[in-house]
Protein backbone atom coordinates (compact mmCIF):
# COMPACT_ATOMS: atom_id res chain seq x y z
CA UNK A 1 0.00 0.00 0.00
CA UNK A 2 1.33 3.46 -0.90
CA UNK A 3 -0.01 6.86 0.18
CA UNK A 4 -0.88 9.86 -1.93
CA UNK A 5 0.96 12.80 -0.38
CA UNK A 6 0.24 15.45 -3.00
CA UNK A 7 -1.59 16.03 -6.27
CA UNK A 8 -2.33 18.58 -8.97
CA UNK A 9 -4.44 19.01 -12.10
CA UNK A 10 -3.91 21.67 -14.76
CA UNK A 11 -6.55 21.64 -17.48
CA UNK A 12 -8.51 24.14 -19.57
CA UNK A 13 -10.97 24.14 -16.65
CA UNK A 14 -8.48 25.44 -14.13
CA UNK A 15 -5.18 25.47 -12.34
CA UNK A 16 -4.92 23.03 -9.44
CA UNK A 17 -6.95 20.01 -8.28
CA UNK A 18 -9.36 22.11 -6.22
CA UNK A 19 -10.15 24.50 -9.10
CA UNK A 20 -10.82 21.54 -11.40
CA UNK A 21 -12.98 19.83 -8.79
CA UNK A 22 -15.04 22.99 -8.34
CA UNK A 23 -15.39 23.41 -12.11
CA UNK A 24 -16.83 19.89 -12.40
CA UNK A 25 -19.12 20.51 -9.41
CA UNK A 26 -20.37 23.66 -11.12
CA UNK A 27 -21.01 21.67 -14.31
CA UNK A 28 -18.50 23.58 -16.41
CA UNK A 29 -17.08 21.82 -19.46
CA UNK A 30 -13.88 22.52 -21.38
CA UNK A 31 -15.36 21.18 -24.62
CA UNK A 32 -15.63 23.55 -27.59
CA UNK A 33 -15.77 23.29 -31.36
CA UNK A 34 -12.45 24.06 -33.08
CA UNK A 35 -12.54 24.73 -36.79
CA UNK A 36 -9.12 26.16 -37.62
CA UNK A 37 -6.76 24.97 -34.91
CA UNK A 38 -4.86 22.60 -37.22
CA UNK A 39 -4.37 22.86 -41.00
CA UNK A 40 -6.46 20.45 -43.15
CA UNK A 41 -8.16 18.91 -40.09
CA UNK A 42 -11.98 18.95 -40.17
CA UNK A 43 -13.75 20.86 -37.36
CA UNK A 44 -13.68 18.90 -34.10
CA UNK A 45 -14.96 19.19 -30.54
CA UNK A 46 -12.30 19.06 -27.82
CA UNK A 47 -11.10 20.54 -24.54
CA UNK A 48 -7.94 22.49 -25.37
CA UNK A 49 -5.89 25.17 -23.61
CA UNK A 50 -6.57 28.67 -25.01
CA UNK A 51 -2.93 29.16 -25.83
CA UNK A 52 -0.60 26.39 -26.97
CA UNK A 53 1.35 24.98 -24.00
CA UNK A 54 4.92 23.81 -23.72
CA UNK A 55 4.80 20.13 -22.71
CA UNK A 56 7.75 20.18 -20.32
CA UNK A 57 6.82 23.52 -18.75
CA UNK A 58 3.26 22.28 -18.14
CA UNK A 59 4.45 19.05 -16.49
CA UNK A 60 6.95 20.95 -14.34
CA UNK A 61 4.21 23.34 -13.21
CA UNK A 62 1.95 20.42 -12.32
CA UNK A 63 4.67 18.60 -10.36
CA UNK A 64 5.55 21.88 -8.59
CA UNK A 65 1.91 22.48 -7.61
CA UNK A 66 1.56 18.98 -6.17
CA UNK A 67 4.21 19.72 -3.54
CA UNK A 68 3.09 23.21 -2.57
CA UNK A 69 1.13 22.05 0.48
CA UNK A 70 3.79 19.53 1.43
CA UNK A 71 6.41 21.07 3.69
CA UNK A 72 7.99 17.85 4.85
CA UNK A 73 11.67 17.35 5.43
CA UNK A 74 11.40 13.65 4.51
CA UNK A 75 10.40 14.49 0.95
CA UNK A 76 12.32 16.17 -1.83
CA UNK A 77 11.84 16.13 -5.60
CA UNK A 78 15.63 16.24 -5.92
CA UNK A 79 16.21 13.19 -3.73
CA UNK A 80 17.66 9.90 -5.00
CA UNK A 81 14.78 8.29 -3.07
CA UNK A 82 12.29 9.90 -5.47
CA UNK A 83 11.55 8.52 -8.94
CA UNK A 84 9.78 10.44 -11.73
CA UNK A 85 7.30 8.45 -13.82
CA UNK A 86 5.79 10.15 -16.87
CA UNK A 87 2.57 8.83 -18.38
CA UNK A 88 2.09 9.94 -21.97
CA UNK A 89 1.12 8.54 -25.36
CA UNK A 90 2.61 11.09 -27.77
CA UNK A 91 4.85 13.12 -25.45
CA UNK A 92 6.42 16.36 -26.60
CA UNK A 93 5.85 16.29 -30.35
CA UNK A 94 6.36 12.49 -30.63
CA UNK A 95 9.33 12.49 -28.26
CA UNK A 96 8.57 10.66 -25.01
CA UNK A 97 11.92 10.13 -23.32
CA UNK A 98 13.47 13.60 -23.65
CA UNK A 99 10.65 15.52 -21.91
CA UNK A 100 10.75 13.03 -19.01
CA UNK A 101 14.48 13.62 -18.68
CA UNK A 102 13.97 17.40 -18.85
CA UNK A 103 11.30 17.29 -16.12
CA UNK A 104 13.50 15.22 -13.78
CA UNK A 105 16.50 17.43 -14.57
CA UNK A 106 14.50 20.57 -13.83
CA UNK A 107 14.08 19.40 -10.24
CA UNK A 108 17.66 18.13 -10.02
CA UNK A 109 16.48 14.53 -9.62
CA UNK A 110 19.37 12.09 -10.18
CA UNK A 111 17.36 8.99 -11.21
CA UNK A 112 16.73 8.17 -14.89
CA UNK A 113 12.96 8.66 -15.27
CA UNK A 114 10.50 6.00 -16.40
CA UNK A 115 7.95 6.67 -19.15
CA UNK A 116 4.81 4.54 -19.31
CA UNK A 117 3.20 4.48 -22.74
CA UNK A 118 0.37 1.97 -22.60
CA UNK A 119 -2.27 3.78 -24.67
CA UNK A 120 -5.29 5.13 -22.72
CA UNK A 121 -4.38 3.06 -19.66
CA UNK A 122 -0.98 4.79 -19.27
CA UNK A 123 -2.00 6.94 -16.29
CA UNK A 124 -3.36 4.01 -14.30
CA UNK A 125 -0.47 1.75 -15.33
CA UNK A 126 2.02 4.44 -14.23
CA UNK A 127 0.42 4.46 -10.77
CA UNK A 128 0.64 0.66 -10.62
CA UNK A 129 4.33 0.85 -11.61
CA UNK A 130 4.90 3.47 -8.89
CA UNK A 131 3.19 1.28 -6.28
CA UNK A 132 5.30 -1.75 -7.20
CA UNK A 133 8.62 0.09 -7.19
CA UNK A 134 7.84 1.62 -3.79
CA UNK A 135 6.60 -1.66 -2.33
CA UNK A 136 9.76 -3.40 -3.58
CA UNK A 137 11.70 -0.84 -1.53
CA UNK A 138 13.52 0.67 -4.52
CA UNK A 139 12.34 4.23 -3.80
CA UNK A 140 10.56 6.08 -1.02
CA UNK A 141 8.49 8.38 -3.25
CA UNK A 142 7.21 8.37 -6.83
CA UNK A 143 6.08 11.43 -8.77
CA UNK A 144 3.57 10.28 -11.38
CA UNK A 145 2.97 12.96 -14.02
CA UNK A 146 0.42 12.36 -16.78
CA UNK A 147 0.29 14.67 -19.78
CA UNK A 148 -0.71 14.85 -23.43
CA UNK A 149 -1.25 17.84 -25.70
CA UNK A 150 -3.37 17.66 -28.83
CA UNK A 151 -1.68 17.93 -32.21
CA UNK A 152 -2.56 17.73 -35.89
CA UNK A 153 -1.07 14.21 -35.76
CA UNK A 154 -3.46 12.94 -33.08
CA UNK A 155 -6.65 14.68 -34.22
CA UNK A 156 -6.19 13.62 -37.86
CA UNK A 157 -5.61 10.03 -36.76
CA UNK A 158 -8.72 9.84 -34.58
CA UNK A 159 -10.71 11.46 -37.40
CA UNK A 160 -9.42 8.80 -39.81
CA UNK A 161 -10.74 6.20 -37.34
CA UNK A 162 -14.11 8.00 -37.37
CA UNK A 163 -13.88 7.87 -33.57
CA UNK A 164 -14.60 11.54 -32.84
CA UNK A 165 -17.97 12.97 -31.94
CA UNK A 166 -18.71 16.25 -33.73
CA UNK A 167 -20.41 17.53 -30.57
CA UNK A 168 -19.87 17.13 -26.79
CA UNK A 169 -19.68 13.41 -26.04
CA UNK A 170 -22.50 11.41 -24.42
CA UNK A 171 -20.99 8.54 -22.42
CA UNK A 172 -23.26 5.54 -21.79
CA UNK A 173 -26.04 7.14 -23.84
CA UNK A 174 -27.82 5.36 -26.68
CA UNK A 175 -27.20 8.55 -28.66
CA UNK A 176 -23.42 8.45 -28.21
CA UNK A 177 -21.45 9.24 -31.35
CA UNK A 178 -17.83 8.99 -30.29
CA UNK A 179 -15.20 10.65 -28.15
CA UNK A 180 -13.75 14.15 -27.70
CA UNK A 181 -10.03 14.70 -27.23
CA UNK A 182 -8.63 16.82 -24.42
CA UNK A 183 -5.48 18.36 -22.98
CA UNK A 184 -4.28 18.30 -19.38
CA UNK A 185 -1.41 17.61 -17.05
CA UNK A 186 -1.95 15.90 -13.71
CA UNK A 187 0.40 14.73 -10.98
CA UNK A 188 0.10 12.40 -8.00
CA UNK A 189 2.96 11.87 -5.57
CA UNK A 190 2.94 8.48 -3.86
CA UNK A 191 4.98 7.67 -0.82
CA UNK A 192 5.72 4.60 1.30
CA UNK A 193 4.84 6.69 4.34
CA UNK A 194 1.85 8.81 5.08
CA UNK A 195 3.43 12.27 5.16
CA UNK A 196 0.33 14.46 5.18
CA UNK A 197 -0.83 16.45 8.18
CA UNK A 198 -2.81 14.25 10.58
CA UNK A 199 -6.56 14.57 10.30
CA UNK A 200 -6.29 15.79 6.71
CA UNK A 201 -8.13 13.66 4.19
CA UNK A 202 -5.85 11.39 2.19
CA UNK A 203 -5.94 8.19 0.23
CA UNK A 204 -3.86 5.11 -0.34
CA UNK A 205 -3.33 3.00 -3.44
CA UNK A 206 -3.98 -0.56 -2.34
CA UNK A 207 -4.19 -2.70 -5.45
CA UNK A 208 -3.79 -2.55 -9.22
CA UNK A 209 -4.17 -4.90 -12.17
CA UNK A 210 -3.48 -4.86 -15.91
CA UNK A 211 -5.03 -7.37 -18.34
CA UNK A 212 -5.05 -7.68 -22.09
CA UNK A 213 -8.21 -8.73 -23.97
CA UNK A 214 -6.02 -10.71 -26.42
CA UNK A 215 -8.80 -9.98 -28.89
CA UNK A 216 -8.37 -6.89 -31.10
CA UNK A 217 -5.94 -3.96 -31.42
CA UNK A 218 -8.40 -1.09 -31.72
CA UNK A 219 -11.71 -2.47 -30.41
CA UNK A 220 -12.37 -3.79 -26.91
CA UNK A 221 -13.53 -7.33 -26.24
CA UNK A 222 -17.35 -7.65 -26.49
CA UNK A 223 -17.39 -9.65 -23.26
CA UNK A 224 -15.23 -7.04 -21.52
CA UNK A 225 -12.75 -9.80 -20.68
CA UNK A 226 -9.67 -7.76 -19.77
CA UNK A 227 -11.64 -5.13 -17.87
CA UNK A 228 -13.58 -7.83 -16.00
CA UNK A 229 -10.39 -9.61 -14.97
CA UNK A 230 -8.94 -6.29 -13.76
CA UNK A 231 -12.03 -5.68 -11.64
CA UNK A 232 -11.95 -9.19 -10.16
CA UNK A 233 -8.26 -8.74 -9.26
CA UNK A 234 -8.64 -5.38 -7.54
CA UNK A 235 -11.89 -6.36 -5.78
CA UNK A 236 -10.24 -9.20 -3.86
CA UNK A 237 -10.97 -8.79 -0.16
CA UNK A 238 -13.40 -5.91 -0.72
CA UNK A 239 -17.14 -5.97 -0.01
CA UNK A 240 -19.25 -4.35 -2.70
CA UNK A 241 -20.99 -2.18 -0.09
CA UNK A 242 -17.64 -0.58 0.71
CA UNK A 243 -17.15 0.74 -2.81
CA UNK A 244 -18.17 4.38 -3.00
CA UNK A 245 -17.47 5.12 -6.63
CA UNK A 246 -16.23 3.55 -9.85
CA UNK A 247 -14.36 5.88 -12.16
CA UNK A 248 -15.06 4.38 -15.57
CA UNK A 249 -13.32 5.27 -18.82
CA UNK A 250 -16.61 6.20 -20.56
CA UNK A 251 -15.14 7.55 -23.79
CA UNK A 252 -18.59 7.56 -25.43
CA UNK A 253 -17.49 5.41 -28.34
CA UNK A 254 -20.04 2.74 -29.24
CA UNK A 255 -17.81 -0.19 -28.28
CA UNK A 256 -16.00 1.12 -25.20
CA UNK A 257 -19.10 1.97 -23.19
CA UNK A 258 -20.88 -1.25 -24.14
CA UNK A 259 -17.79 -3.22 -23.11
CA UNK A 260 -17.52 -1.40 -19.77
CA UNK A 261 -21.20 -1.97 -19.05
CA UNK A 262 -20.72 -5.70 -19.73
CA UNK A 263 -17.61 -5.90 -17.53
CA UNK A 264 -19.35 -4.05 -14.66
CA UNK A 265 -22.42 -6.29 -14.91
CA UNK A 266 -20.28 -9.43 -14.95
CA UNK A 267 -18.52 -8.19 -11.81
CA UNK A 268 -21.91 -7.40 -10.18
CA UNK A 269 -21.09 -3.70 -9.90
CA UNK A 270 -23.87 -2.21 -12.03
CA UNK A 271 -25.58 -0.56 -9.04
CA UNK A 272 -22.52 1.34 -7.80
CA UNK A 273 -22.31 5.05 -8.71
CA UNK A 274 -20.01 5.83 -11.62
CA UNK A 275 -17.89 8.83 -12.34
CA UNK A 276 -17.62 9.70 -16.03
CA UNK A 277 -15.46 12.76 -16.62
CA UNK A 278 -15.05 12.87 -20.41
CA UNK A 279 -17.88 15.44 -20.90
CA UNK A 280 -15.81 17.89 -18.82
CA UNK A 281 -12.23 17.24 -19.94
CA UNK A 282 -12.50 15.13 -23.11
CA UNK A 283 -10.15 12.17 -23.41
CA UNK A 284 -6.87 13.51 -22.05
CA UNK A 285 -4.97 10.35 -23.05
CA UNK A 286 -1.79 10.04 -20.97
CA UNK A 287 -3.22 12.40 -18.33
CA UNK A 288 -6.63 10.67 -18.09
CA UNK A 289 -5.75 7.93 -15.59
CA UNK A 290 -4.03 10.40 -13.24
CA UNK A 291 -6.53 13.27 -13.55
CA UNK A 292 -9.57 11.02 -13.13
CA UNK A 293 -8.03 9.19 -10.15
CA UNK A 294 -7.56 12.51 -8.33
CA UNK A 295 -11.12 13.71 -9.00
CA UNK A 296 -12.67 10.35 -8.07
CA UNK A 297 -10.76 10.25 -4.79
CA UNK A 298 -11.71 13.87 -4.03
CA UNK A 299 -15.36 13.02 -4.66
CA UNK A 300 -15.53 10.19 -2.13
CA UNK A 301 -15.46 10.91 1.58
CA UNK A 302 -15.07 7.37 2.78
CA UNK A 303 -14.79 3.93 1.24
CA UNK A 304 -13.09 2.40 -1.74
CA UNK A 305 -12.70 3.93 -5.17
CA UNK A 306 -12.13 1.80 -8.25
CA UNK A 307 -10.63 3.45 -11.33
CA UNK A 308 -10.70 1.50 -14.57
CA UNK A 309 -9.52 2.22 -18.11
CA UNK A 310 -9.17 0.39 -21.41
CA UNK A 311 -7.29 1.25 -24.54
CA UNK A 312 -5.68 0.47 -27.87
CA UNK A 313 -3.58 -2.63 -27.99
CA UNK A 314 -6.37 -4.41 -26.10
CA UNK A 315 -5.00 -3.33 -22.73
CA UNK A 316 -7.16 -2.73 -19.63
CA UNK A 317 -6.17 -1.54 -16.16
CA UNK A 318 -7.81 -0.88 -12.81
CA UNK A 319 -6.69 0.35 -9.40
CA UNK A 320 -8.31 0.33 -5.98
CA UNK A 321 -7.94 3.34 -3.70
CA UNK A 322 -8.88 3.54 -0.05
CA UNK A 323 -9.92 7.02 0.97
CA UNK A 324 -9.53 8.66 4.36
CA UNK A 325 -6.72 6.40 5.42
Amino acid sequence: MVYCIGHSIISPLGEGSQANFEAVQAGRSGLKIYSDRFADVEPFCASLFDTPQDFVELCVRSAQQSVVSLQHSAFSLASKDTIFILSTTKGDNLNLLRPAQQIAAHFGNPNPPIVVSNACTSGVCAQITAMRLLEAGLYQHAVVVGCDLQTRFIVSGFQSFKALSPEPCLPFSEERKGLNLGEAAATIIYSRERLSVSGERCWALEAGAIHNDANHLSAPSRTGEGAYQCLMDVLQGVKKEEIGLIGVHGTATLYNDAMEQTALERAGLQEIPRSVLKPYFGHTMGAAGVLETILCAMAVEKGYVIKMLSGFGGVNAAIRLKTEC
Binding site: L97, S117, N118, R132, L133, E135, H211, S218, F312
Partner: protein, 177 residues
Protein backbone atom coordinates in the same frame (compact mmCIF):
# COMPACT_ATOMS: atom_id res chain seq x y z
CA UNK B 1 17.66 -14.99 -9.83
CA UNK B 2 14.44 -15.01 -11.76
CA UNK B 3 15.87 -15.06 -15.25
CA UNK B 4 15.38 -18.28 -17.21
CA UNK B 5 17.81 -19.68 -19.78
CA UNK B 6 15.63 -18.56 -22.64
CA UNK B 7 16.45 -15.38 -24.52
CA UNK B 8 16.60 -14.11 -28.08
CA UNK B 9 18.56 -11.26 -29.65
CA UNK B 10 17.60 -9.95 -33.09
CA UNK B 11 19.58 -7.32 -35.01
CA UNK B 12 19.26 -6.44 -38.73
CA UNK B 13 22.00 -9.00 -39.49
CA UNK B 14 21.69 -11.71 -36.86
CA UNK B 15 19.41 -13.84 -34.75
CA UNK B 16 20.77 -15.44 -31.59
CA UNK B 17 18.65 -17.85 -29.55
CA UNK B 18 19.95 -18.91 -26.13
CA UNK B 19 23.48 -17.98 -27.20
CA UNK B 20 23.35 -19.88 -30.50
CA UNK B 21 23.14 -18.13 -33.88
CA UNK B 22 20.21 -18.98 -36.15
CA UNK B 23 21.23 -18.94 -39.79
CA UNK B 24 19.54 -16.30 -41.93
CA UNK B 25 19.94 -15.40 -45.60
CA UNK B 26 18.32 -11.95 -45.67
CA UNK B 27 19.06 -8.80 -43.66
CA UNK B 28 16.94 -5.99 -42.20
CA UNK B 29 13.17 -6.06 -42.54
CA UNK B 30 13.43 -8.79 -45.24
CA UNK B 31 15.04 -11.02 -42.62
CA UNK B 32 11.96 -10.60 -40.41
CA UNK B 33 9.79 -11.84 -43.31
CA UNK B 34 12.20 -14.77 -43.81
CA UNK B 35 11.84 -15.68 -40.12
CA UNK B 36 8.06 -15.35 -40.37
CA UNK B 37 7.97 -17.80 -43.30
CA UNK B 38 10.20 -20.26 -41.48
CA UNK B 39 8.58 -20.15 -38.03
CA UNK B 40 4.96 -19.06 -38.60
CA UNK B 41 3.72 -18.94 -42.20
CA UNK B 42 -0.03 -19.01 -41.48
CA UNK B 43 -0.74 -15.62 -39.87
CA UNK B 44 -1.31 -13.14 -42.72
CA UNK B 45 -1.94 -10.30 -40.21
CA UNK B 46 1.86 -10.22 -39.94
CA UNK B 47 1.96 -8.30 -43.22
CA UNK B 48 -0.30 -5.56 -41.85
CA UNK B 49 2.08 -4.91 -38.96
CA UNK B 50 4.71 -2.17 -38.83
CA UNK B 51 8.36 -3.17 -38.37
CA UNK B 52 8.35 -2.71 -34.57
CA UNK B 53 5.43 -5.13 -34.28
CA UNK B 54 6.97 -7.61 -36.73
CA UNK B 55 10.17 -7.56 -34.69
CA UNK B 56 8.48 -8.16 -31.33
CA UNK B 57 6.02 -10.64 -32.82
CA UNK B 58 8.68 -12.83 -34.42
CA UNK B 59 10.99 -12.67 -31.39
CA UNK B 60 8.15 -13.77 -29.11
CA UNK B 61 7.10 -16.50 -31.54
CA UNK B 62 10.57 -18.08 -31.76
CA UNK B 63 11.23 -17.75 -28.02
CA UNK B 64 7.93 -19.32 -27.00
CA UNK B 65 8.12 -22.11 -29.59
CA UNK B 66 11.68 -23.06 -28.72
CA UNK B 67 11.30 -22.81 -24.94
CA UNK B 68 7.98 -24.61 -24.62
CA UNK B 69 6.97 -22.01 -22.01
CA UNK B 70 3.74 -20.06 -22.10
CA UNK B 71 4.16 -16.58 -20.62
CA UNK B 72 1.18 -14.82 -19.04
CA UNK B 73 2.55 -11.27 -19.23
CA UNK B 74 4.39 -9.15 -21.82
CA UNK B 75 6.55 -6.19 -20.75
CA UNK B 76 8.58 -4.41 -23.41
CA UNK B 77 10.61 -1.23 -23.52
CA UNK B 78 12.65 0.95 -25.83
CA UNK B 79 14.04 4.47 -26.20
CA UNK B 80 12.17 5.78 -29.24
CA UNK B 81 8.56 4.56 -28.73
CA UNK B 82 6.85 4.11 -32.12
CA UNK B 83 8.91 6.74 -33.95
CA UNK B 84 9.40 4.75 -37.18
CA UNK B 85 5.69 4.30 -37.68
CA UNK B 86 4.95 7.82 -36.42
CA UNK B 87 7.16 9.08 -39.26
CA UNK B 88 5.31 6.88 -41.78
CA UNK B 89 1.95 8.20 -40.55
CA UNK B 90 3.21 11.82 -40.72
CA UNK B 91 3.90 11.29 -44.42
CA UNK B 92 0.16 10.63 -44.95
CA UNK B 93 -0.81 14.01 -43.46
CA UNK B 94 1.79 16.21 -45.14
CA UNK B 95 0.41 19.58 -46.21
CA UNK B 96 -0.91 19.50 -49.73
CA UNK B 97 -1.15 15.71 -49.57
CA UNK B 98 -3.53 15.09 -46.68
CA UNK B 99 -4.87 11.52 -46.63
CA UNK B 100 -4.57 10.30 -43.00
CA UNK B 101 -4.20 6.52 -42.97
CA UNK B 102 -6.11 4.68 -40.21
CA UNK B 103 -4.12 1.53 -41.03
CA UNK B 104 -0.91 3.36 -40.12
CA UNK B 105 -2.35 5.41 -37.24
CA UNK B 106 -3.22 2.28 -35.24
CA UNK B 107 0.50 1.46 -35.05
CA UNK B 108 1.49 4.89 -33.69
CA UNK B 109 1.48 3.61 -30.10
CA UNK B 110 4.45 1.58 -28.83
CA UNK B 111 2.28 -0.79 -26.78
CA UNK B 112 0.57 -2.11 -29.93
CA UNK B 113 3.39 -4.65 -30.26
CA UNK B 114 2.49 -6.07 -26.83
CA UNK B 115 -1.13 -6.29 -28.03
CA UNK B 116 -0.10 -8.15 -31.20
CA UNK B 117 1.87 -10.67 -29.11
CA UNK B 118 -1.02 -11.04 -26.63
CA UNK B 119 -3.49 -11.78 -29.45
CA UNK B 120 -1.22 -14.30 -31.17
CA UNK B 121 -0.24 -16.09 -27.95
CA UNK B 122 -3.68 -15.73 -26.25
CA UNK B 123 -2.14 -13.94 -23.26
CA UNK B 124 -4.81 -12.30 -21.08
CA UNK B 125 -2.38 -11.25 -18.38
CA UNK B 126 -0.52 -7.99 -18.10
CA UNK B 127 0.83 -6.13 -21.13
CA UNK B 128 2.86 -2.95 -20.72
CA UNK B 129 5.31 -0.74 -22.59
CA UNK B 130 7.96 1.53 -21.07
CA UNK B 131 10.21 4.16 -22.62
CA UNK B 132 13.61 4.13 -20.93
CA UNK B 133 17.08 5.47 -21.56
CA UNK B 134 18.96 2.28 -20.67
CA UNK B 135 18.16 -1.44 -20.85
CA UNK B 136 19.26 -1.89 -17.20
CA UNK B 137 16.30 0.23 -16.08
CA UNK B 138 13.89 -2.49 -17.17
CA UNK B 139 15.05 -5.16 -14.74
CA UNK B 140 13.74 -3.57 -11.52
CA UNK B 141 10.41 -2.97 -13.26
CA UNK B 142 10.16 -6.64 -14.26
CA UNK B 143 11.28 -7.89 -10.87
CA UNK B 144 8.78 -5.68 -9.04
CA UNK B 145 6.06 -7.03 -11.36
CA UNK B 146 7.07 -10.61 -10.58
CA UNK B 147 7.28 -9.69 -6.88
CA UNK B 148 3.61 -8.79 -6.88
CA UNK B 149 2.47 -12.05 -8.50
CA UNK B 150 3.87 -15.38 -9.62
CA UNK B 151 4.00 -15.65 -13.36
CA UNK B 152 6.16 -16.14 -16.42
CA UNK B 153 6.92 -12.83 -18.07
CA UNK B 154 8.10 -12.29 -21.62
CA UNK B 155 10.12 -9.12 -21.31
CA UNK B 156 12.86 -7.09 -22.86
CA UNK B 157 13.96 -4.44 -25.29
CA UNK B 158 12.18 -3.97 -28.63
CA UNK B 159 13.25 -1.00 -30.72
CA UNK B 160 12.88 0.08 -34.33
CA UNK B 161 13.96 3.57 -35.32
CA UNK B 162 13.98 3.02 -39.11
CA UNK B 163 12.87 0.33 -41.58
CA UNK B 164 16.21 -1.51 -41.38
CA UNK B 165 17.44 -0.31 -38.00
CA UNK B 166 16.13 -2.38 -35.13
CA UNK B 167 17.18 -4.31 -32.05
CA UNK B 168 15.36 -6.78 -29.85
CA UNK B 169 16.62 -8.57 -26.76
CA UNK B 170 13.77 -10.45 -25.19
CA UNK B 171 13.81 -13.10 -22.51
CA UNK B 172 11.57 -15.19 -20.30
CA UNK B 173 11.50 -14.39 -16.62
CA UNK B 174 10.00 -16.67 -14.01
CA UNK B 175 11.03 -19.72 -12.09
CA UNK B 176 14.41 -21.05 -13.16
CA UNK B 177 14.41 -24.15 -15.39
Amino acid sequence: MLKTEHYIVITPRSVVLNGKAIEVNETGSKMLVELYRRYVGDYPKFFKMDTLCRLGFIAAEILIKESGRSPDAVILANRSASIKNDTDYLATISEGNYYPSPALFVYTLPNIVTGEIAIRQAIQGETAFYILDQEEQLEPIILSTLHSKRSTVLAGWCECSKENEFYAKIQLYGTID
